[in-house]
């Protein structure tokens, strides 16, 4: 009985730790997500090089289009 009680408490403790890690970012807290440095296309040179590597390896290109920066503004 005592062993079961300890197991239950351990399970509850572990669950509390896991679930307390879930956090929703509110719309007014998305300033960092909207920052320029979060943009996938912020470095055109890097994009060109990545595209070249991708083309060389896969013999295809394109399909990289992603809209917005993740700020949830729209």
């Amino acid at each position: 009985m005592i062993k079961r009680k300890i197991l239950c408490i351990l399970f509850l403790g572990a669950s509390a730790l896991v679930f307390s890690g879930c956090q929703t970012v509110q719309p007014w807290e998305k300033g960092l997500l909207a920052d320029y440095t979060m943009r996938a296309d912020r470095d055109s040179m890097h994009d060109a090089m990545s595209e070249h590597i991708y083309f060389s390896r896969e013999s295809s290109s394109g399909g990289r289009g992603v809209g917005a920066s993740g700020c949830g503004c729209n």
Binding site: C8, Q26, W28, G31, A34, C73
Partner: protein, 167 residues
């Protein structure tokens, strides 16, 4: 005796783990916030007896910036009839806020919600969000986002009747 208490504890704990904390946003009928309860940078003008649009915005929010000229025009047009727009910036950094205001003066009064406690009270569902309060200080409408002329027309159709109300 122990087993009953332990079962109760177990039930409450499990319920607590799977229960989402629901914190409700302002709803129509709720009163204007008590500004003194929040840490605001800038002065809130006298809003008593006026139709007030509280606009939650941020310097990093492009649609907020796009909305300013149209909102400033509304403010200018209806100022004599007792319409006030109060911008509430949720910028965390004072320098971002100051730089933005210098580059893009909004055309209406704005304050910065320093600790974001006002934002946590208003709970704007998107950026920007406009909260429209009647002359009685009660919330009438909430507008999520800014969609150009469509939003402005909607605001016009909703604010006009509020301006016509007596104090």
């Amino acid at each position: 005796m122990w087993s009953v208490n332990f079962r109760t504890l177990w039930f409450v704990a499990i319920l607590g783990l799977f229960t989402t904390v629901v914190s409700l946003a302002l709803e129509p009928g709720d009163a204007l916030p008590e500004w003194a309860n929040f840490e605001l940078e800038g002065d809130v003008p006298d809003l008593a007896g006026k139709v007030v649009m509280v606009d939650a915005w941020a310097s990093w929010c492009a649609p907020c910036k796009a909305s300013f000229p149209a909102y400033a025009k509304l403010q200018q047009e209806w100022a004599d009839r007792g319409f006030v727009i109060l911008g509430v910036s949720v910028d965390r950094k004072a320098k971002d806020y100051a730089r933005f205001l210098k580059q893009t003066p909004p055309g209406f009064t704005t304050v910065r919600d320093v600790s974001q406690k006002l934002a946590a009270t208003l709970k704007p569902p998107a950026m920007p969000t406009s909260f429209i309060f009647g002359r009685d200080g009660k919330l009438r409408k909430v507008h999520k986002g800014y969609r150009g002329d469509r939003t402005v027309e909607l605001l016009r159709s909703e604010i006009e009747p509020l301006l016509a109300e007596s104090r």
